[in-house]
């Protein structure tokens, strides 16, 4: 359980030119959940990530991870529970061969060799990059590098995996594959995934969506609920998945679509369930 309790954070806090990145934030995240955090640039997403990994500490309020308060003295304990993958793999890969980079974290934990090997293998397997484990990082595509970075985080066997905009530099196809892999991990290993993004289509695939705007929590709930508030989302510079917005347009024209519609497949099922069209097109 991650408990963010009344947290505020300001860069250069206390000075006249302090920048308030987060204001009075309350969030509880249960273990094993798929949570998307959305917000446009400058909404405080990245600051939240740094607070959850004990890179920064709150100016006000407190954070606990599985009951352990996030403080300077507990940072190693926190980081063994929470792993994070950043936007640009070039700035986080340390070693220059895939398997060795994935092993970097477990090596830091001082684990026995056999366990490191086993963790590396299963992390590579989970990200679908076992076949390139002996490749040199320079020779990889950006998508492969990002998978390597995620495998490196997985090898830490965290309770919570934070993905800090890992898809924003990737082409859409590679981004989709990455999200699929993250969902699969959650399903199979029960690991909590917190995905920071500004892609609404990606957020729609998660259990819960948290929306931040200028450092405040503005929405928090299942995607079906959050995306129903399309107008408010547009106001703060975010949009909604096309299927959701189209469904509400069609409904307003009197088409009786049933159920929560977030993805393309949802819309197809609802359209299929319509009395007449089903008969028309077989």
């Amino acid at each position: 359980m991650i408990e963010v309790d009344g947290v505020s954070f300001a860069y250069r806090g206390g000075e006249s030119d302090a920048v308030h990145a987060l204001r009075d934030l309350d969030i509880q995240i249960e273990p094993g959940r798929l949570v998307a955090v959305i917000g446009h640039n400058g909404s405080g997403k990245s600051t939240l990530v740094k607070l959850l990994t004990a890179v920064l500490y709150p100016t006000e309020g407190g954070i606990r991870v599985d009951g352990v308060p996030v403080r300077h003295e507990t940072r190693w304990e926190i980081r063994s529970r929470v792993s994070v993958v950043f936007q640009d793999p070039d700035d986080q890969l340390v070693m220059n061969r895939v398997a060795d980079d994935v092993a970097f974290g477990p090596e830091n934990l001082g684990l026995p060799r056999e366990e490191i090997a086993e963790r590396v293998e299963s992390a590579l397997e989970a990200m679908g990059i076992a076949d390139i484990s002996e490749k040199i990082v320079d020779d990889l595509s950006l998508g492969q590098k990002q998978r390597t970075a995620i495998a490196g985080a997985l090898a830490m066997r965290p309770r919570y995996l934070i993905l800090d905009e890992p898809t924003s530099l990737l082409p859409a196809v590679a981004a989709t594959r990455l999200i699929e892999a993250a969902r699969e991990l959650n399903r199979r290993e029960g690991m909590g995934v917190i995905h920071v993004t500004h892609s609404m289509a990606e957020a729609a695939l998660f259990d819960r969506v948290i929306v931040l705007d200028t450092g405040r929590l503005v929405m928090d709930g299942p995607p079906s609920e959050v995306f129903r508030r399309a107008e408010e989302l547009r106001e703060i510079g975010l949009d909604v998945p096309l299927a959701a917005s189209l469904a509400s347009r069609l409904r307003s024209h009197g088409i009786p679509l049933e159920g929560d519609i977030l993805t393309d497949a949802d819309l197809r099922k609802s359209v299929f369930a319509l009395p007449r069209s089903a008969g028309d097109s077989g």
């Binding site: 860069y11 250069r12 030119d17 890179v55 920064l56 940072r75």
Partner: protein, 198 residues
Amino acid sequence: MASGTGNERGSVTSFGTRQIVVAGVLGGIAVFLGATRLGFIPVPNLAGNATVMHVPAILGGALEGPIVGLLAGGIFGVFSFLQPEVPLFANPIIAIGPRLLIGVVAWAIFVGLRGISVDLAAAVSGVFGSLTNTVGVLGLAVVFGYLPPAAVVPIIPQAIAEAVLAAVVTVVVVRGVLLYRSGRTTAPEIEPDEEKRY
């Protein structure tokens, strides 16, 4: 030893993750300049080229302390031993020894003069960091018998060129890095009206 993490800048002499990374990055720039030959600028003299490969060590010393300067200089030294652009660097003592001192000298001067003016401190540490390199290498070359003392004379223009280059680049980079760290958003008006282009 393992003190200082991410966002704490430990004392100048600590040797933590940040020092390792910054020294590695600066060493990487030195290697990059050497391996791509970008760091060699043709100077009209017999030896042919002035180099800016020692500038990362100067910057490491000035901005991050003697340990980082020493390590960045060490990487430069090891590179020039492995890829000796001049035969005398095939001797590891000549290739590595003086380079270890570049950043330390730059640090001492930068810290000493910073109170007067950051630009001045950067320029002087650039010049003396550069001279540490030249004097150290040539001195050892004469001691080891690679060069007769007379051969030092034609290298003087190159040494001056290197010192000037190092001073200029150090001033500009120190300004850039300090500016980036300061978080300021707007520049002061600098140019007189008639020359203003923006």
